[in-house]
Structure formats: C-alpha cells, structure tokens
Amino acid sequence: MSTTTAAHHDDHGHESHGHPTGLMRWVKSTNHKDIGTMYLWFSFAMFMFAGALAMGIRAELFQPGLQFVQPDVFNQLTTLHGLIMIFGAIMPAFVGFANWQVPLMIGAPDMAFPRLNNMSFWLLIPAAILLLASFFVPGGAASGGWTMYPPLSVQGGMSVDMSIFALHILGVSSIVGSINIITTIFNMRAPGMTLMKMPMFVWTWLITAYLLIAAMPVLAGALTMLITDRHFGTTFFNAAGGGDPVLFQHVFWFFGHPEVYIMILPAFGILSTIIPTFARKPLFGYASMVYATAAIAVLSFVVWAHHMFTTGMPVAGQLFFMYSTMLISVPTGVKVFNWLATMWKGSMTFETPMLFSVAVVFLFTIGGLTGLVCAILPVDIQLQDTYYVVAHFHYVLFSGAAMSIMGGVYYWLPKWTGHMYDEKLGKWHFWTTTIAFNVTFFPMHFTGLAGMPRRIPDYSQQFAEFNMISSVGAFALGISQLLFLYVVIKCIRGGTKATNQVWEGAHGLEWTVASPAPFHTFETPPQVK
C-alpha cells in the first residue's frame, strides 16, 4: 500500500502509510499533489465550459444578422465566458501548478497550511455552481460584461447577485491560497536554498501571491459596494445620490490591472523553467528576471486608468497613465530578451513543451505590442471597445497564459503520472491549437481597426469575411482541446515509463524524486548546495 520512499519515519503516524483511497481521499485531502491535481482538473472543466460559451459566441458571429441566440443571450455568453475563463480556468490552473510544483521545487514536504489548502480548493465548487446555475434563473445569467460596470450591474437581475457572490467566494479562495503559498515559500525552503537560488517559477508565484492578496480585497470592496447599491439603498455608483458610476471603474481596474499580471506572471515562470531545459542552458539573466517580475508587479498598481481613457479624465491623468503603461514594456522586454538569450546558441530540441514555450514568446510579444498600441492615448480612444482590444487580450491571455499552461502540463505530466505523454499527438495538439488560435484572433485586429464593436451579436456586412474566418478558427480551436484531453488521459493510463529526470536538460529538486512523484516527498529536507 505504501508507495512512499520515506516510509521509515515511524513517528509520523498515519502520514507514512501511503494515502487514503476512494472519494474521501479527494474530499478530505490535505496533500499538495492531490489538491494540485484537483485544481488542474477543475480548471480544465471550466476551460471547456467557458470555451463552449465562446463557441456559441462565434456561431452567432459566423454570419451577420441574428441566427442562433438573441442579443440578451449573446451578452450572457460573452459575460460568463470572460468571468469563467479568468476566475474559473486560468487562475485555478496556476494555483494547481503552484500546489504541485512549489513544494517540490523548494524541497518542502507540503504546503504550510494543508487544511486551508483543502478549503481553498473546495470553495471553488460552490462558486462554479453559482456561476453555472445563474444561466437558469429568471432573466438569465449576468449580461453586463465581465467587468460588471454599473449601472447595468446595479439594474441586473438575481444572476448578478449570484455572480458577485461567486466572485466573493473565489476571492476568499485566492487570498487564502496566496497566504499559504507565500508562507510556504518563505518558511519551508530546504536548507541552503536562498531566495536568489529559488527556481524562477517559485519567484513568479511569490510575487503573484503578493499581487493577489493586495488586489483581490479591492475587488471584494467594489463588489460589496455593488451589493449595497443593489439592495441596501446606498448610492456609491449612482449619481442621483451623489455617487459616480465611474468610481466603480476606478476601483475595479485598480484590482483589474494587477489581475492581468496575476494571470501572466506564473506563465512567465513556466516559460523560464521550460526554455532553459530544452535549450540546455541555464536561464539567461536570472537576477534581472526576478527584478523585472517585481517591477512589473509594482507598476501594475499605477496603470489602471488606461482601461478608461474614454471616461473623461483630465489630460494630465491620461498622459500619466499612458506613460506609466508604456513603462511596463521595459521590464517585460527584459524578460522576452532574456528568453531569447537563453535560447541563443543553445542545443535546442523541440518537444511539445518547448514548442508551446517558443510559440508563447512569439505570440505573447504580439499581444504585448498591440497592448502598447492601445496604450497610445489618441489611438486608444479610437480602439476602445473594438475587436482590436479583443484580439489584444486574447493574444496575451490565450497565447500567453493558456498556452503556457498547456506547455507546463506537457512538461510536468511525466513527473505527475510517471509516463511519457504521446509526443506525436502532443505535437498535433500544439500545431492545431497554434494555427487555429491565429486564424481565430488575428483577423480581429483588422475588424477592430475597421471599427467593429465588441459585445454586439450583429455586425455590418463589411465585417462578414473576417468574422467567418474567425469563427472557423474558433471551432477548430475548440475541437483541438479535446485532443489535449485525450493526450492527458492517455498519459495517465499508461505509456513509456518516465525517468526521474524526465528531460535531459531538466535541473532542480523536483527532478530528483521518483516519477511519478511519490505521495510524500522531502519529508527529510534535501540539502541545496
């Protein structure tokens, strides 16, 4: 029964006797690996669901006119697609990686607060149920956009309350999870692992966790004010009572912009792990990577109003936010060039994780560049709320965050399951995803520049061709993810036995334990030289 290599620690009682089985193993789990696995599966389920909503959006936009859904349903699809992808798919996926990898990478036996860790995960379930169930209440799901701007979010029906409540729960989960991660990283590193010897992925998560505990409460505050405006007669966001709807946008984006980096910094960490492995060179400029990540995090708190250039800010304010936004491209550029320098003259091979990483560096940079375009004040006034913005944030969130997650899954899957995944199918998944992604979102730059507004179910005849291309790409992108599911399940069920090191160029503590990683690892802390 016992699969642990550290079973000789008799004084640890039940901990050394393998793991419980059946359903209760998962419900009551305090094991970081099990919880990480649950996070990743939860995230994948949400990814497929929100992806299905996107299929609905693209089906409606396949042709001009209204074919499949009514405008109010269309708005529900876009709203819930955004909310679920951000809070249900991307964020939990990164927390899943943190759970699996942070203790393994720093040589800790588990997270600092295993029970809180269990709670963080199980809080996700009621939140997800609230979001999914909101489709079935009178009036349908929230339809005012994922940003929940008043007055629409104040006027909306019961589903808005459900969404707000879901976000509150998800916020608590993220905050508790982040405190757990920070505590683990600060207090439970193996002897000899100084902060500047930590793997880059751990660094990016440490900084992300700080962003989370600073930004999520601000969202909680904004949502609470929304609730009291809706039900208790306050007028924070109602001009009739002396409030201001624009205030919500300020508070929301004060959370929202750090949130953007919450969704991309761990992706940077994954890239900084994968690229050195397959370039067979250490990460170029490790220290500058750490400082760049910290700089991005600090700057993320002073750029929020670039989301609201058209709300009527004073010119001085607009200029400040324009320049501060552009400043972020400096540390981001440091990172991109460091990855390129890591690859430079390396002995590169292109297994699936590396393919994903190289694609992310390229595609994320496109998304970063269009972000810079959007930061230019006079241009942004033209582009605000057009498909150009949709193209921009899908290049950073899909080809930035989601594709790094996929790369990370392929990279660590052998360590998690003990089997090599099917390389050929993995490559198929990579190429179909990458091509379909570009077919979907690249034309949106053009429709956006031509003036097609986002969140509208119908459009002018002139946008018909590009929208049809986008829709075809989107369907292909959706189907490709079923292949991903198949590859992962196939790998769990069997395959070539993975070695402990798995990849020739992989370095770090997680590659010193057996594959699959035993239920308990590093009960005796390893010594880091």
């Binding site: 409460p217 601000v218 009739a240 002396g242 205030l247």
Partner: protein, 198 residues
C-alpha cells in the same frame, strides 16, 4: 522528539506570517472603501470628471466684470429613466462676461400620474471649467417635488469667475434629473411638496 518540536515551531512561525499577511488583505479591503469618499473629494477639489458643486457660492464682490471678454454658456438638461418629467432649459445658450451675475431658468413638467421627487445633478464641460463656474442660487441645491401634471420654472443664478483660463470660450452646464423617490410613499411625497411650498 526534536523533529516534533521543530514541527510545532514551524507551525508557529507559519501562523505568525499568515497573520502578518492578512494585514495586507485587510488594508486592501479598507482602501477600496476609503476610495469612495476620497474620489469624491479629489473630483470636487480639482474639478475632475466635470463634477460641479451642488452648494451655493457667495458672490465675491471684489472681482470685476471683465467687459472685454465673452464666454458662451450652453445649457442642457436630461431626465434619467424612472422620472416621468420633461425638463428643458428656457434658453439653450447665452453669452456672458466673466464676473457678471446672470439669471436664467429651466422648465420642468411632471407627465406622470403621481407626485415625483427629482434630484438634479449638475456637471460642467470642459472639466477644467468646473472650478470657475459658480452658482449663487440653483434649483439643484435641494430636492424638487412636482405633483402630477405640475409645471414649474426652475431658476439658476450663476457667474463665471474672471480668472477662467483664456483658452476656454464655451462652457456647457448640464443637469441630469434623477428620480429621488426611492422608497417614499405618495403620502410622504405630498408632505414634502407641502413643506417645500412653505
């Protein structure tokens, strides 16, 4: 045994750090609530967002009327959903000298079948001019109640400060009339209308 001691020590250190981190969480929460009043004060002080005062300003007698300069003041008004009134400026624009006290008015008519309480929220465009547009008397200083079918003239007395930046030639004053009924019964409204008359 030593291992066990180490464990309790670690768990103690962990808990201490977790509590310290929750201070950041608490500060974030407090900050988000503090932003609401802070935003209000900043907007009014610096005239951000076109937020105009809803309070009377005493006329500064020391300032002179600048006869050499004309400023066009445009008046607009609209009612928000939930208030069944028609509301228009009597005169849509006028030319004034900075420093000159001017009187004009809006007319409002209640088209609904019940008494309604309205709250007018002023705003000034360009935002920069907000700080230089002063109201001595205005219907927006208090709530207005109109009985069903009632027609009312709503006066406003204002002046533009002479130190209005030279590149501002036109100032637009807008009123958005909101329904202020929120939870008031018809009887309470009638009472309010009565006290307003006295």
């Amino acid at each position: 045994m030593i291992d066990g001691d180490k464990k309790t020590l670690l768990s103690k250190i962990n808990k201490r750090l977790a509590w310290k981190l929750s201070i950041i969480v608490f500060a974030g929460l407090m900050f988000s609530f503090a932003v609401a009043p802070l935003y209000d004060v900043l907007c009014r002080e610096f005239g951000i967002n076109g937020r105009a005062d809803s309070t009377a300003t005493a006329f500064d007698t020391s300032q002179k009327v600048d006869k050499t300069r004309w400023v066009t003041v445009i008046f607009t008004g609209n009612t928000m959903p939930g208030l069944g009134w028609s509301f228009h400026p009597k005169q849509t624009s006028m030319r004034v000298h900075p420093g000159e006290i001017t009187l004009t008015s809006y007319t409002a008519k209640n088209n609904a079948e019940t008494s309604q309480l309205g709250v007018a929220v002023p705003s000034v465009t360009p935002e920069l001019a907000t700080l230089y547009f002063k109201k001595i008397e205005c219907f927006c200083f208090k709530e207005q109640t109109l009985k069903a079918g009632e027609n009312k003239e709503m006066p406003i007395m204002f002046y533009v400060k002479p130190d209005l930046p030279a590149d501002v030639h036109t100032v637009t004053l807008n009123y958005a009339f909101y329904n202020g009924n929120a939870g008031l019964s018809q009887a309470a409204l009638a009472e309010k209308a009565k006290s307003a008359l006295n």
